[in-house]
Symmetry: C2
Subunit: 253 residues, 2 copies
Amino acid sequence: MSERPLILISNDDGVSAKGLRELTEVMRLFGDVLVVAPDGHRSGMSNAITVDHPIRLIKTVDEEGYQVYKCSGTPVDCVKLAFNQLLDRYPDFVVSGINHGSNSSISVVYSGTMGAALEGCIHGIPSIGFSLNDYEPEADFSRAKIYVARVFQQVAENGLPPFVCLNVNIPKGDVKGVKVCRQTSGKWVEEFDKRTDPHKREYYWMAGSFQNFEEEVDGTDIAALENGYVSVVPVNADMTCYQTFDSMKSWRF
Amino acid sequence: MSERPLILISNDDGVSAKGLRELTEVMRLFGDVLVVAPDGHRSGMSNAITVDHPIRLIKTVDEEGYQVYKCSGTPVDCVKLAFNQLLDRYPDFVVSGINHGSNSSISVVYSGTMGAALEGCIHGIPSIGFSLNDYEPEADFSRAKIYVARVFQQVAENGLPPFVCLNVNIPKGDVKGVKVCRQTSGKWVEEFDKRTDPHKREYYWMAGSFQNFEEEVDGTDIAALENGYVSVVPVNADMTCYQTFDSMKSWRF
């Protein structure tokens, strides 16, 4: 049996995305790699799971210490299938990405890339989602990969508490350093594009713009990104808002 | 203009689900109601949004103070479409459910019903997801509806902080009362059912069993439910794990 760590990789841009290939290249330096990724785009799939349809899974690469599967399901389906069907034991790490485009602020909630990372930490495995603040399919990941390696090494050295994963966003250009941040308060405001198909039936395309509730506030992930720093946000799978308990004590049900 | 509050309703079991009809019946006592719900099952859709396909939206009921739309998208799509395309102003409340089956513990992360509620609070609207701990399509919601009304009235009276919604789970049988709880620590362990189709290609059905990491611990939502109480968990759209900041101070990137 190999003594190298076993690393599970997924993403939401699909198995053919450049970001996934670049992440795989970095991770193969550190361990044996199993890639299980969607067979196409699954952006915005969040923590969705497929319970109403059957799921297909096809092996596309089978080398010593390096296997790739493509999956018809969501990023979380990929992680669950790897755990239950493809591996004899839990992997040592789950890494997801590198996403084409930022998952800072509230985007963490919608991101399939972060869905895969969150699934990893729910099972107690140190897990990281990586995103580059560049949506281009042919984005340049060369600088990003240096910081992917750095953050991974810190996680390998220090571990992460169970139920906590990292949301790592990397700026597009030069990088000044790494900052541990909190999630910026903000929302996506949708502007649906309403069209009429050739059969005279209406349909909508979702489009949106981001609204930042706290421009340039120090300590937020967006401020870090905008100032050229990699943002690292610890993300909690326990969504309880403990601060709200006190104000609810006076409620009379 | 009506002075009654405006209440947006969605769910993930679809527009035809009994739980949605029952919730609508309760909410129409309190205000004008707009229902925008998926045109079929969207269980496990989490906070997923539809960015890769067009979305269809069809009006099925148009009465004074009561409209219903069915939508081809996810629960979050429904809420976003209502905000952007169907309403002149934000609704006063977003309520989601009543889900057929519990969304306690880690299920909050996968639930489309909770996805709709979370979307509401991200936009600053007091929002509640309701679930009954009974998966039957013809479940008896009569007792549940009393507690739906009670929790809704408390939210109407006290409000909720922005970025915080409520995850309300209601036991199947008799109800002893209501408890404000935290999310139980636990995970779903998948047991995929691997089959072969008539064309000799393999496929998988997701199935799972819940593993509770803290059996019968007081203050958790599952303990409340199992002891006959309605569990009310305040859920935070800020997923930052602030407790992890301290331990990350020593990290050297």
